[in-house]
């Protein structure tokens, strides 16, 4: 789980320049990301983990822990 957190921290930093991300961080409320930022993160995750994230699922991923849980359900370690 910590590996996934580190990877997500790197992806989000590379795309948005935002740091200090924890499991509880809310992508919209805490990081002030907009739809385009989120779509970029989704595309980067898909590329990194070789998965597809359904469009309707994107808007359910509010906190970093939601993203990690979603990735784990997809078999990402």
């Amino acid at each position: 789980m910590e590996n996934l957190l580190n990877t997500l921290q790197s992806i989000i930093y590379e795309i948005t320049g935002k740091q200090g991300i924890t499991y509880e961080t809310d992508l919209v409320k805490d990081l002030q990301l907009n739809s385009f930022d989120l779509i970029n993160i989704v595309c980067a995750c898909e590329k990194k983990f070789h998965i597809t994230i359904e469009t309707r699922e994107i808007w359910k991923l509010h906190r970093i822990k939601d993203v990690i849980s979603y990735l784990q359900d997809k078999g990402v370690q």
Partner: protein, 183 residues
């Protein structure tokens, strides 16, 4: 009547103040202090207690909203950043005609297409869903001036941003609060 309000965010910026200022400039005769910004389940914002429609967007150092006395309005601002996942996004989220247009133009219209598409789905109230790639904002002549009967207005404000407004009965007026003009 549609008015667009763009604020460059400084250290003392607050969306609540920007919204109150926008409402006052939109209709100086009304008292908006009791008006509340609320959100539908879909995330779409609305103003309780007044018959005006609002659409909100933020990107980079700007926060903005469109206010309208019509039923539906969509507004989007997007900063131009070349390090983004443009090809992946365009392949997956854009219409084939848009992707083809981008390939022919070295992706120069990527952020315009993005902002135009977002303004349209905000106008519809649907947000970005599986239909996002099923409509095109371009034809063989470039960006469209309307999609399915909804007028699409490109707004010029700062050369580092692309801004679009969708809907409304006339060209929106722009109220721009920034340190300097980019155009």
């Amino acid at each position: 009547m549609t008015k667009i309000f763009l604020f460059q965010k400084g250290q003392d910026f607050s969306p609540e103040y920007a919204l109150q200022k926008s409402l006052h400039l939109f209709d100086s005769d009304s008292d908006f202090h009791a008006v509340k910004l609320e959100h539908q389940k879909s995330g779409q914002p609305y103003l309780s207690g007044i018959p005006y429609t609002i659409s909100i967007s933020h990107s980079g150092t700007f926060w903005g909203c469109a206010l309208c006395d019509c039923d539906k309005i969509g507004f989007d601002i997007q900063i131009v950043e070349q390090n983004r996942e443009m090809d992946s996004i365009a392949k997956r989220f854009f219409h084939p005609a848009e992707y083809s247009h981008l390939c022919q133009t070295q992706f120069s219209d990527f952020f315009s297409i993005w902002a135009a598409k977002e303004s349209y789905v905000k106008y519809l109230g649907s947000g970005i869903d599986e239909n996002f790639c099923r409509f095109s904002t371009v034809d063989q002549n470039g960006l469209l001036s309307a999609i399915n009967g909804a007028a699409l207005y490109p707004i010029k404000c700062d050369s580092s941003y692309r801004v679009f407004c969708c809907g409304g009965k006339s060209t929106p007026s722009l109220y721009y609060f920034a340190k300097k003009k980019g155009y």
